[in-house]
């Protein structure tokens, strides 16, 4: 299934949805499918500073742990506290209820360095081949 066209993506399989100066961050459907059953998400709390392509947290599936990389730089304004009790939301709704962070961007121009949905889908198609 094609990735949502209104989001921007990283090659590390995170997405960001921009609304004004705030970006909502999560991982892609492709990533959650590859990871399998997600059982724990470790996220930074509000007020933490994150940097583009720097690690901001960890996600644990039954299989393994993976690092999460921020698609944008800025200050975390909100984290999805629901994931503490329902990490499976990342599997069930990666672009909706499974979101992870809201970040107030310090460098909005960074968005241009990210992949479009089409670029990302071509990238994952290559990874699969």
């Amino acid at each position: 299934m094609p990735s949502p066209p209104d989001l921007k993506y990283t090659k590390e399989h995170e997405w960001v949805r921009m609304e004004g100066d705030t970006g909502t961050v999560g991982i892609t459907d492709y990533a959650q499918d590859q990871l399998g059953d997600i059982v724990f998400v470790d996220l930074p709390s509000a007020g933490t500073t994150v940097s583009q392509m720097q690690k901001f947290g960890e996600i644990e599936s039954v299989k393994a742990v993976s690092e999460l990389f921020s698609p944008v730089s800025g200050e975390v304004s909100e984290m999805n506290t629901t994931l503490a009790d329902q990490p499976e939301l990342v599997n069930d709704s990666p672009y909706g209820e499974g979101w992870m962070l809201r970040v107030r961007l310090s460098e909005p121009s960074e968005i241009d360095r990210l992949l479009t949905a089409q670029d990302y889908d071509e990238f994952t198609a290559q990874e699969d081949s």
């Binding site: 590859q34 059953d37 724990f40 299989k63 690092e67």
Partner: protein
């Protein structure tokens, strides 16, 4: 984030590779084999085995037959458990040790007839074990027959498994197999071996049959309602049952006594076997460390290699660890000095810099309920 590269290049295939692909399994490299890690999802497959019935292609595990009048004596010589005690139709678990008591492999041996035995070894050790057995069998009137490539092995596990298997391979045959017993029957003109054993903490059978019959057996089990399960669920199931994994919880630098395998070390028969003197010495001197079961008190997941801390000082390392779908918390096993091995001891696991409180708990984490 980084996704593991699960591509399977020049890997060996089991005779069921096409079945796995048809079922949409995710394949991963494991001990040189392309193996299914999951089909529907690890947690779903885990629950299928705990509640109903699931099957695993375990053809990657090495299988050898030992034939000849001195087959039992040979197997006793390489095993820490006295294999000469096995009667026809019985099986037993054992360690195979070097002279210095280091564990070369953990194996299951089945007595098919007085002069014919089946030995099942770990996939990762199959080549090493073949060489080890070839080296030692020459001193006995016995010979080794490698059945790895010519057969398939399928584990069918879970509370409904015996009932479902009865419909596929024969009701009387299945009913006669008591725990740890084995037997052979005929299935569509071929010899089918079955043993009442497994690696999940549930009841069930492990089957071995000619590779040519593999797709038919697999399909018959699917049709009976057995859910295909991958290595992912196999690992979470065996960890809940606190069953050891070679390469994680034991290796050549580990002896059977420090990992709780004293029950497979028999020295009272007086017979000579590889590792005997070293094991007698360890028995007398005691072990400096022991493998314990750890249960997390909080969120966070211990993984193999995580340091185990006591009062901030490193006391050992996690050897197996992960998430328990049954307990909904992280569980693991690891080595600690004897003084930290008591049940109830509070320890901390360093999960990549973050402390996770854990407690030493009784083994196993999960025991199947008694069923009427």
């Amino acid at each position: 984030m980084s996704l593991e590269d699960a591509r399977a290049g020049t890997l060996r295939h089991t005779p069921l590779i096409d079945e796995h692909r048809r079922l949409g399994a995710r394949m991963v490299p494991f001990a040189g084999w392309a193996m299914p890690v999951q089909y529907a999802g690890i947690v779903e497959e885990h629950r299928a085995v705990r509640q109903r019935s699931g099957m695993f292609d375990v053809s990657h595990m090495g299988r050898f037959e030992v034939h000849g009048p001195e087959a039992a004596r040979f197997l006793r010589y390489i095993s820490t458990w006295d294999m000469t005690r096995l009667a026809t139709g019985e099986g037993h678990y054992s360690a195979v040790c070097r002279e210095d008591a280091g564990i070369l492999d953990d194996i299951y041996v089945f007595c098919l007839e007085a002069d014919r035995y089946l030995v099942v070894v770990n996939a990762s050790n199959a080549e090493k074990m073949r060489k080890w057995m070839e080296r030692h069998v020459s001193a006995f009137n016995a010979r080794l027959v490698d059945r790895h490539a010519s057969t398939v092995m399928i584990a069918v596990q879970g509370p409904q498994s015996l009932e479902l298997l009865a419909g596929v391979i024969g009701r009387d045959f299945v009913a006669a197999l008591k725990p740890r017993r084995c037997g052979e029957t005929e299935w569509r003109g071929r010899t089918l071996f079955a043993s009442r054993t497994g690696y999940t903490g549930e009841d069930g059978l492990e089957l071995v049959i000619d590779a040519g019959a593999a797709p038919d057996v697999w399909q018959a089990l699917l049709d009976a309602g057995v859910q295909p399960c991958g290595l992912g669920a196999r690992d979470t199931l065996r960890l809940e049952a606190a069953l050891l994994l070679y390469g994680n919880d034991m290796d050549e630098d580990t002896n059977p006594l420090e990992v709780g395998l004293d029950w497979v070390v028999t020295t009272d028969d007086g017979a000579d076997f590889l590792g005997r003197d070293a094991l007698v010495h360890v028995k007398e001197a005691g072990s400096s460390r022991q493998l314990v079961c750890l249960k997390a008190a909080d969120r966070g997941i211990m993984r193999p290699g995580c340091p185990i801390l006591s009062s901030g000082r490193e006391a050992g390392k996690v050897t197996s660890g992960g998430y328990s779908p049954t307990l909904s918390v992280s569980i693991g096993m690891g080595f600690v000095p004897e003084e930290f091995g008591t049940e109830g001891t509070q320890l901390t696991v360093d999960v990549r810099g973050k402390p996770l409180d854990v407690q030493v708990v009784p083994r196993p984490f999960y025991k199947r309920p008694k069923r009427a």
